[in-house]
């Protein structure tokens, strides 16, 4: 964090490398969603228009697979970065789910319905961020495995019977839908519609958020930064 940033009351929340990973993820997931849902809902007129736009089912499949390979490359890079780099290791520790997160979720729920008197005080990543992160991670691994099975169908069927591939197809499709629902109703709410960030949390573009926002939304992180003398 540069001195100018600190003076302006700004804190870095996403480093450049994370922003690049996040941006790639956004673009790739969009391509996968457009090409994937067009196939899933091929009876729909919009889906048919999309498939024609993509140059037919054959090309749709090629685009979908290219995007899938990029997604997996992004995932592999992310795993290595999280496990091996100094920044990644620290972030990874912050992302580990602890008992406090479960307690925080319950406390937030009680507060929201008017049963509790205090909103949970969370650190760098609260239960909202952790749910988003691990949900996406597990979802991508699952959808990548089933996608690979369907891609190399003859190879898969050397190991699995045909009905396992039918299952893989169903899981792949629904997993995509579920991921999409999560992105729309959880992530987009948290980073766009949530009153504290509306219309947008700028972290994904500039990497920076205001110290005031950290103080309000992530008080433990604020205190930690303060303790380290960074604020």
């Amino acid at each position: 964090m540069s001195k100018a940033d600190l003076a302006a009351g700004r804190v870095i929340r996403m480093s450049l490398l994370f922003r690049v990973q996040h941006f790639l993820l956004t673009m790739i997931l969009l391509v996968l969603a457009v090409t994937g849902f067009a196939l899933m809902y091929h009876d729909n007129a919009v889906a048919q228009a999309v498939i024609r736009l993509e140059g037919g089912v054959q090309n749709r499949g090629i685009v979908h697979r290219i995007a899938a390979v990029l997604l997996m490359a992004n995932l592999v890079y992310h795993i290595f970065y999280m496990l091996l780099s100094r920044e990644g290791k620290s972030e990874f520790r912050d992302f580990l789910v602890t008992r406090k997160d479960v307690g925080d979720f319950v406390q937030a729920f009680r507060y929201n319905v008017g049963l509790g008197s205090e909103y949970p005080r969370v650190g760098r990543y609260g239960f909202k961020e952790k749910f988003q992160y691990w949900g996406t991670a597990i979802g991508i691994v699952l959808i990548a495995c089933t996608g690979f099975m369907l891609w190399a169908e003859t190879f898969s069927m050397r190991i699995f019977p045909k009905f396992v591939l039918d299952l893989a197809l169903i899981i792949h499709g629904y997993q995509g839908l579920l991921g999409f629902v999560l992105l729309f109703l959880w992530h987009l709410y948290n980073v766009h519609l949530h009153p504290s960030v509306f219309p947008m949390n700028p972290a994904w573009l500039t990497g920076k958020v205001t110290a005031e926002w950290v103080r309000q939304e992530h008080p433990l992180e604020y205190e930690k930064l303060k303790g380290e003398g960074l604020l």
Partner: protein
């Protein structure tokens, strides 16, 4: 009085003279049969083959042309004995729109000339069939008549006169066997290929063009009314359309599998027949045509699987689980958004 008698005689003569064309025709028929009515009257062709030119008064009996005479069709015979070999009969001589004979006419003639057969004739292929090659020559019967050469039960044999190998394969197929048993619903050649509009399977106009096959099969195989009679599932077409193969086919892929890629074309047999291409033991070979290295695993599990049906077992339950999981997640997240906003408002107001 004398005048009256004279008029009466004249009228009588006129009355006698009236059926002159008929009388002349009858005479002409008799004249034809003078030679053609002798069983030994045959023509020896240049190549040594014998051509049967036997025809009697009975030749047209019972046919739709019962009341016609030889020269009505063989109209190029103007003298007897004819010096030249009469040309092939042209049915459109009478069967054209607005004809005065009352001969039935449809656009079938035009359709025929656009078809593979008609084009072959136009290109000078003398082996290609004209009307009479399928409908018969002297004994033309209505299609509905079981004895007609183009009736449901006879047409395969008629086509088989030229398409011999295909006929042999078809005859032992499930459709061929069913037709032979007298099952009216089973398709003969024309059931799939059409009648006058027969095109090569590489012609996009063809009913058996790769992207049209599933539609053609679905005419019967998607009909519960027909399929229930034979204990066959009627959802095979729907499940195919939902599959990767079906979707690719719908969007115009000509290489993706259609019904006949797996089930065969003329040699379609029920799956429990060991000779069937979709018999579990033959599935690795059949699938292997497009998926090199296909194993027996291709046959483990239902091929035409419908995730919306309980009979699909684990596939149905997984799909149902995910369906409700997705709906549940959506509802939970929407509820969460409202609760979170509500809580947030309270916090902003400084309430506890």
């Amino acid at each position: 009085m004398r005048k009256f008698v004279a008029v009466a005689i004249l009228l009588g003569c006129a009355a006698l003279a009236a059926p002159v064309p008929g009388a002349r025709a009858a005479i002409s028929l008799e004249k034809c049969t003078l030679c053609h009515g002798k069983p030994e009257f045959r023509k020896l062709l240049v190549n040594g083959a014998i051509r049967d030119v036997f025809a009697t008064e009975d030749s047209l009996k019972g046919s739709v042309h019962e009341k016609k005479v030889c020269t009505d069709c063989h109209f190029d015979v103007s003298e007897i004995p004819h010096r030249e070999h009469p040309k092939r009969v042209t049915c459109t001589h009478c069967h054209f729109k607005g004809n005065k004979e009352g001969a039935p006419q449809s656009d079938n003639v035009l359709a025929y000339f656009d078809s593979a057969h008609g084009k072959a004739i136009a290109a000078g292929n003398t082996k290609a069939p004209l009307c009479q090659d399928c409908h018969g020559d002297h004994q033309i019967l209505k299609v509905k008549d079981a004895g007609s050469k183009v009736s449901r039960f006879q047409v395969a044999e008629t086509c088989g006169r030229c398409h011999m190998e295909i006929y042999a394969r078809y005859k032992t197929s499930i459709h061929g066997v069913a037709v032979a048993k007298g099952v009216a619903e089973a398709p003969s050649c024309t059931g799939c290929h059409g009648e006058h509009r027969i095109y090569a399977r590489t012609d996009p106009k063809s009913t058996v063009y790769p992207t049209h096959v599933s539609e053609q099969c679905s005419k019967c195989h998607a009909s519960i009314a027909i399929m229930s009679k034979f204990g066959i599932e009627a959802e095979q077409v729907a499940t195919y359309n939902e599959s990767f193969h079906g979707v690719a086919n719908k969007f115009g892929s000509r290489t993706v599998a259609n019904c006949s890629s797996c089930h065969g074309v003329h040699d379609i047999r029920p799956p429990d027949d060991p000779l069937s291409s979709v018999n579990p033991r033959n599935i690795p070979t059949t699938c292997g045509k497009c998926h090199p290295g296909a194993t027996a695993n291709f046959a483990v599990g239902k091929i035409h699987v419908d995730a919306k049906k309980k009979e699909s077992g684990i596939i149905y339950w997984t799909a149902t689980f995910f369906k409700y999981l997705t709906i549940g997640t959506m509802l939970a997240l929407i509820v969460h958004i409202f609760l979170d906003m509500y809580g947030r408002t309270r916090r902003l107001r400084g309430e506890q």
